[in-house]
Symmetry: C2
DNA sequence: CAAAAAGTGGGTTGTCCAATCCAGTTCAGG
DNA sequence: CCTGAACTGGATTGGACAACCCACTTTTTG
């Protein structure tokens, strides 16, 4: 599921070159908004970073809000893509632990800056742009779906007791991850993130060994 | 620990009346920033909502950033104050469950709008205002301290096994709460919040009954 | 109770930035 | 190869808003 906008703001179809330019704008916007937030990122910054000129941003996007929505979809693909291999193996404790380590290490490399590309962006625009809020919520549901798939496999295999609900557990796991990322961002320290994920994985482990 | 700014932007001491006006400005700013975010809240909006005139905001605050920092401290007091009774009883499972119910019910009443007054605000300004980020982090540590106190009581009492670290568990609990609030805000649904808190409380419960 | 400090009301300024426009150039399909 | 559509580059506009200023009134204090 890639970001297939594939048309200009006035609805015309795009050529190959056009699509590339559009993607370059979204990628530049995503990076700048991740680093500085939506409000602090001007269209001029994006234009310069993408290496396109003046009217181009408006050629491809209706307005700034439309670009923000495209960025959210782009980040959803980026985040799920980056951890795709890990997400495919969340049906064993070693797989879950490896995923945890991957996320913590990634945050450490970033100096805990930026938080979650989806969650932080969504939170910033949630109360002023309903469409963007919904886009962020949809992105989180995709993510949760991948986690749930792993837990459901464990459940079907009988590793998780019949009484447990994989969906609830997946929701809780993603929420814990989001909160850990937020606290890590604010404290510039991975410890809250580690404590949060470890507690949730220990919870799953304890369900298994029941 | 109240917000004792108690001086104007130029460092002069405030009279009683001045302090009241200053508080009215902070309270108005807090409400508007909670509802619409920092970027969407103008000083003119705040001025009008607080019922003060033109230069007054600048009389009491150096600039908008200083006001944001005051709002963060104000919200920290407000949040901890509102759940103070519950925070005093986090040393039993019924106490923890009651706290959970209180938070979920509060979110339901708000229609899941706004998220966490501290977390959402902190996330918005984290990458553009280091002082505000630190203020938010400090607020979260105060909150975490209250949770930790309850868990430490359980630990000392022997309810929690010796091997468990109340601090780690408190950190994880707050992170889970933050993530649940964020997801509830984005999805406009308390289910992620409930799933997250329930999973974490079940974790604590399972540690007790070991 | 006088004089200085604290607080008020509103007007002004300068900057930033989203959004629009248009003249010129490149590209892609028939 | 040529014609219209896709794309480029830069200039412009209009509005919003943070920050500042000053004349005036009220409050506090020595």
């Amino acid at each position: 599921m890639a970001v297939k906008q594939a048309e200009a703001s006035d609805g015309r179809r795009l050529t190959r070159r056009g699509r590339e330019t559009q993607q370059r704008i979204v990628a530049a916007a995503a990076e700048l908004m991740f680093e500085n937030g939506v409000a602090e990122t001007t269209l001029e910054d994006i234009r310069a970073a993408a290496g396109v000129s003046g009217s181009q941003v408006y050629h491809y996007f209706e307005d700034k809000q439309a670009l923000v929505r495209a960025v959210i979809d782009y980040q959803a693909d980026a985040v799920l893509g980056a951890q795709s291999d890990h997400l495919d193996h969340l049906d064993t404790m070693p797989g879950l632990r490896a995923w945890r380590d991957f996320i913590v290490e990634h945050q450490r490399r970033l100096g805990c800056r930026g938080g979650c590309p989806i969650g932080a962006l969504g939170a910033e625009v949630a109360e002023t742009d309903a469409a963007a809020r919904v886009a962020a919520a949809r992105a989180l549901r995709r993510w949760e779906g991948r986690i749930r798939a792993g837990l459901q496999t464990m459940h079907a295999r009988g590793d998780l007791p019949a009484g447990t609900d994989p969906e609830q557990l997946a929701l809780a796991t993603l929420a814990t991850l989001q909160g850990g990322l937020l606290m890590a961002q604010l404290e510039r320290d991975t410890r809250p993130l580690e404590a949060a994920l470890d507690a949730m994985l220990d919870r799953i482990q304890s369900l298994i060994s029941t």
